[in-house]
Amino acid sequence: MRAFLGFVRKETLHLLRDRQTLAILLLFPVVQVLVFGFAVRTDVRDIAIAIVDPTPDVATQELRERIAASDRFHVAEVRPSVQDLDLQFRRGAIRQALVLPTDVERRLGRGDSLPVQLLTDGSDPNTGGIMQGYATAIVERWYRETAPSGGALRIEPQVRMRYNPTLESAHLFVPGLIAFVLTIVSALMTAISIAREKETGTMEMLLVSPIRPRAIVIGKVIPYIVLGFTSVLLVLLAARGVFGVPLRGSIVLLLAECGLYIVTALALGVMISTKAPNQRTAMIAALAGLMLPTLLLSGFIFPLDSLPTVLQWLSYVVPARWFLTIVRGIMLKGAGLATLWQETLILVGMTMFLLANGSRGLAIRLG
């Protein structure tokens, strides 16, 4: 036990002495939250829109004002014809154009149909779709309220988004970010730290000593468990403080699940390090083998439903996928273990499998 505690102490000292790495590890979660929160937003604001209004009148004036008043849009220009509109799109001066017909007010008065054209820059299909939605909503509302009611019964769906009523992207990415940060801190750092000892020769000294391989692994990961928890708390604090991301479920359950995922990630790191001969290989293996699936196959950035079937199958073996479902469930829906037990069980199973594999890898000692 004394040998083990000494070992944990030594591992902690490694971590504390390497100031640069430690600083990066502690800043990383916070910076990620800010980057994702401010830069990688899927909700769109400040769309430059051009309005083509060949015959301005009171009705079109009203529409223009409504668009200008929305914080989603700013009216880049009002022009009489569609001439050069294409050029404006290509220059990037505008991302949307609303083309109105002539004599809008008279058509409305007569109850004629109103052919309105909405052009959207579709080079990014996701934001394009979102911009289309915003503009359509404003135009439809204006039409309903300006046109004299035709007497026909209209069905107006009242759409409300549950769990994330304002469709804030921050709410969606924070759970993913927790998975991402934990993968980096836990898996990558353990893999590197074990591979480093192999590289410098100190691992050989340890394997020749009476300390058991299991004790080496556990002693090595304990400081990283603490660091992992610190990262989770930092992400949660930053997300709450800066973006007001809610935590609707139990924080105890959330931290327990995070603890489980930290062990999963550490087991992955140990497994990588038993195979990798040096730090560089360990790092590349961890980055390519863990970070990319965590980013791409977990539902963090791309919705799983939009992936090709093969990749959807592949996502079932990515632990982050299950963890993400759990964290989103707890944070956004306030779900408890009663709804999340399946995902939790899958994660426990994966972790046990990885731990068994990893400790066997080390039991073989040095080949």
């Binding site: 004394r2 040998a3 505690l5 000494g6 070992f7 102490r9 030594k10 000292l13 490694h14 002495r17 390497d18 410098t200 020769g201 100190t202 050989e204 000294m205 340890l206 394997l207 020749v208 000593s209 009476p210 300390i211 000692r365 040095l366």
Partner: protein
């Protein structure tokens, strides 16, 4: 039980079809300084790795400090010290922290760690560097420190795999003095080296060629048996039979 510190019989290790160590048989007496010589790739390191219990032999057997390396690896580990080719202390820990760590791992009591730390630092002249990070002290001292750390738990046998690689002649000299002192104190030392002048310091040597022991005995016996003036000559004759005769 064997009263030899190391007793290897027909020890063999194959990697696929390649035989790295080919039925080597030798023993080392308590307190003996035994030199393990051979060209690169002759099988010295593989042999040591089997004896320290990180590599299983394909066939043959060996006891170290009286315990079987196959069945009693735990007991063997407690009774040996090891210093690898690679430098094996933690560069980002202080001298004192390294000593405490290894002392703890080998179950040396806190009291003994304190007294032995003092002894070690005095012995190699590092009294004032206890709180210095290992990366900050010169290579020669690091090697001596690594050796002393390997002796911290008073092992019966200590294995040194090319301990003097890249070290200046004066430090090498000092290092060999440490080795002698260790042998005189009753700890057997098995040391591999490329430096044939160092081999002359050993009580007995064995020269490995292609995984097998090609010559063994005191340096004088080996020279005589090979009809050579120096160990250099012996070495060339054994490793390059054609050109060795002309040398």
């Amino acid at each position: 039980m064997s009263e030899h510190a190391i007793d290897a019989r027909e020890l063999t290790r194959r990697f696929g079809s390649f035989t790295a160590v080919d039925r080597i048989t030798f023993h080392v007496e308590p307190g003996e300084v035994f030199g393990f010589l051979g060209a690169n790739g002759a099988g010295k390191t593989t042999a040591i790795r089997m004896l320290i219990g990180v590599l299983a032999p394909t066939s043959g057997s060996a006891t170290v400090a009286g315990f079987d390396i196959r069945t009693q690896a735990e007991q063997v580990r407690r009774r040996i010290g090891y210093m690898s080719q690679k430098f094996s202390l933690y560069e980002d820990l202080t001298v004192q922290e390294n000593i405490t760590l290894y002392g703890g791992i080998y179950g040396v009591s806190d009291k003994d760690i304190v007294t032995r730390t003092g002894e070690i630092l005095t012995r190699i002249g590092l009294e004032h560097a206890g709180k210095a990070l290992v990366r900050e002290i010169p290579l020669g001292w690091k090697q001596q420190l690594a050796f002393c750390v390997a002796l911290l738990h008073r092992p019966a046998v200590v294995f040194l795999d090319e301990p003097t690689g890249g070290v200046d002649p004066i430090t090498r000299r000092k290092f060999w003095e440490l080795i002698y002192e260790t042998g005189a104190a009753g700890t057997s030392v098995l040391v591999t080296t490329h430096y044939l002048d160092e081999a002359e310091y050993c009580r007995r040597i064995s020269i490995m060629v292609d995984g097998a022991v090609a010559a063994m005995g005191t340096p004088a016996e080996v020279r005589k048996a090979m009809g050579a003036e120096t160990l250099d000559e012996v070495f060339l004759k054994l490793t390059r039979p054609g050109s060795g005769a002309a040398a």
